[in-house]
């Protein structure tokens, strides 16, 4: 597998469609334990991302992801702007100048996790999007990516697991134990992001 410029762009287009389609779901999850703006923030943010990358020429997928990072940082006002922005910026830094194969993609995701941990002052297992990213990293480490759609299944399980955790980070942490029983909205939005990636990889695998 090699992530190309076209695939990176397609990844963002599919992600935009998913955020548009699932805006209400994310909003509902965020209304339950957050401030209720996650659906609209992600839909708007990725719409801006797709517009930005449509008007730019790219030589390398790292440059696409850098544009994604800058756009999300500028356009998304909640925590998802700085966190996803940092994630894409760090991925871009790792990919720069390299052929983005499975190993580089895994390293990029690991560096995204490091950045988000630092930015959000959080760790894996605290009912945040980090849980999903960590799962994707493990998957890329142990599987051969011949069935990219498996990524969707493992992410789904992690999102489900966040229900059981009490939030200690972000707005949900103000609810203490009442945050238990609800899926983490950030994990859900990361799920859509990786679902989009899996679809792009799947398409490529069947060509």
């Amino acid at each position: 597998m090699e992530l190309t410029v076209d695939m990176a762009i397609n990844w963002m287009e599919i992600a935009r469609d998913k955020y548009k389609e699932n805006k209400e779901t994310l909003t509902m999850l965020d209304q339950a334990i957050g401030d209720g703006d996650h659906g609209i923030n992600m839909a708007r943010g990725y719409q801006a991302v797709v517009e930005k990358i449509a008007e730019t020429e790219y030589d390398h997928p790292a440059d696409v992801l850098k544009s994604v990072a800058m756009t999300l940082m500028a356009k998304v006002g909640g925590a998802s702007g700085p966190l996803y922005g940092t994630a894409f910026m760090n991925m871009s830094m790792v990919m720069k100048g390299k052929t983005v194969d499975q190993k580089v993609l895994k390293e990029a995701i690991d560096h995204a996790i490091t950045g988000m941990k630092q930015r959000g002052k959080s760790e894996i297992g605290e009912k945040t999007l980090l849980d999903v990213w960590d799962q994707v990293s493990s998957y890329l480490d142990s599987e051969d990516l011949s069935e990219p759609k498996e990524i969707i299944e493992v992410c789904q399980a992690v999102v489900e697991d966040t229900k059981q955790i009490q939030a200690t980070k972000g707005r949900a942490s103000y609810l203490n134990e009442r945050s238990i029983g609800h899926e983490d909205p950030g994990s859900m939005s990361s799920f859509y992001l990786f679902e989009a990636l899996a679809e792009v990889l799947e398409k490529e695998a069947t060509v």
Partner: protein, 128 residues
């Protein structure tokens, strides 16, 4: 006299403006700027607005910036890192209203950034 600049960062522009009004009733000379809401004027924070606010009150004695909720801290940190701003203190975990008020008072009597940072610890909030 040179003062340490104060920046109020809030998810709500009304909250930031209201707090500025409260401070201005008492403190006239200290440069205080607000970065409230997103660029579209909605609830949230904006890295660019924070950058502009910090630049507008920068002096030789630097700036102290205070925020309301967690994601505002992230945007404040990124505004400082990306623009390589120096002499900026982001007050970590200090309640915005009390902290900004104390910071403005301390600045008005000529205190340094370090002294103000110490003074506002008195109003430390819960860790979120």
């Amino acid at each position: 006299m040179e003062y340490v600049g104060v920046v109020i960062i809030s998810h709500s522009s009304k909250l930031a403006e209201g707090l500025l009004e409260l401070i201005r009733q008492v403190i006239k000379d200290v440069p205080v700027a607000t970065a409230g809401g997103t660029e579209d004027g909605e609830i949230g924070t904006s890295m660019e607005k924070i950058h502009e606010a910090i630049s507008s009150v920068m002096s030789e004695k630097g700036v102290i910036a205070l925020y309301d909720l967690g994601s505002a801290r992230m945007n404040a940190e990124m505004a400082v890192e990306f623009n390589q701003l120096e002499n900026v203190t982001i007050a970590n975990g200090i309640p915005l209203v009390e902290g900004s008020y104390v910071a403005a008072v301390e600045s008005s009597i000529g205190k340094s950034r370090e002294e103000i940072e110490e003074a506002i610890q008195k109003v430390k909030q819960m860790e979120i």
